[in-house]
Amino acid sequence: MTVTVLLFASYADTLGTNQLELDLTSGSTVSDVLGRIRDMPGADRLPPEPLVAVNERYAQRGQVLASGDEVAIIPPVAGG
């Protein structure tokens, strides 16, 4: 299955892209996506436990993903 990963702000700069597609085995979780992101160049500058949203909702590490899900890695928010 395929999920779309969105990167923003400092994380997009760090990893050099703001969007990528990942092929995952069925039953994969948010943790599995983070594991794959960590293999990318520059990922060592991400915090160990970044915030993640799935389909525009904050998600836990163990959430199981479905094909077509949108997984966003959320840098520390700074609105206001």
Partner: protein, 146 residues
């Protein structure tokens, strides 16, 4: 109730008019503006960006929660995105309520939750030409060298 992101200037007077009703004895306007110094560094502006659909959803959730907790539907919040100059309004919250206490509480709730949950980021632009992403609680996230 209304929440929105905008790419242009915020008309705060229009927000006040939007929530004002004769049943309300208190109307509050909060305006967050870009200040000229942060952490002792001279700032020329801030570039705001967002995960737009999620930011809109979170802002809508926040004002719904405020409405339920504090008992008023007269709440409007608008956050601006893009490059802002010193003194520009980045966010405005208008709340009206029969009583002032609940109006203050609702306004405070909306700004505090917005700063905690809404996926918006700011890139600070400094007088010396450098720029840095600002993290939670003012903590700097170093921008990588390109």
């Amino acid at each position: 109730m209304r929440s929105a992101l905008t790419d242009g200037p915020i008309d705060s007077a229009a927000l006040v008019a939007e929530v004002a009703h004769t049943a309300n004895g208190a109307t509050l306007l909060f305006i967050g503006t870009v200040r000229n110094v942060n952490d002792n560094r001279a700032v020329t502006g801030i570039e705001y960006s967002a995960y737009r659909p999620m930011a809109e959803r979170e802002m809508a959730d926040i004002i719904r929660e405020a409405s339920e907790q504090f008992g008023t539907d007269d709440i409007v919040v608008v956050h601006r995105l893009g490059e802002l100059a010193i003194g520009d309004a980045s966010v405005a919250i208008a709340v009206a309520h029969a009583r002032r206490g609940a109006a203050y509480d609702a306004s405070r709730y909306v700004i505090e939750q917005l700063k905690r949950r809404v996926p918006i980021w700011k890139l600070e632009l400094y007088v010396d030409g450098t720029r840095e992403w600002v993290g939670a609680a003012g903590q700097k996230v170093a921008e990588p060298v390109r």
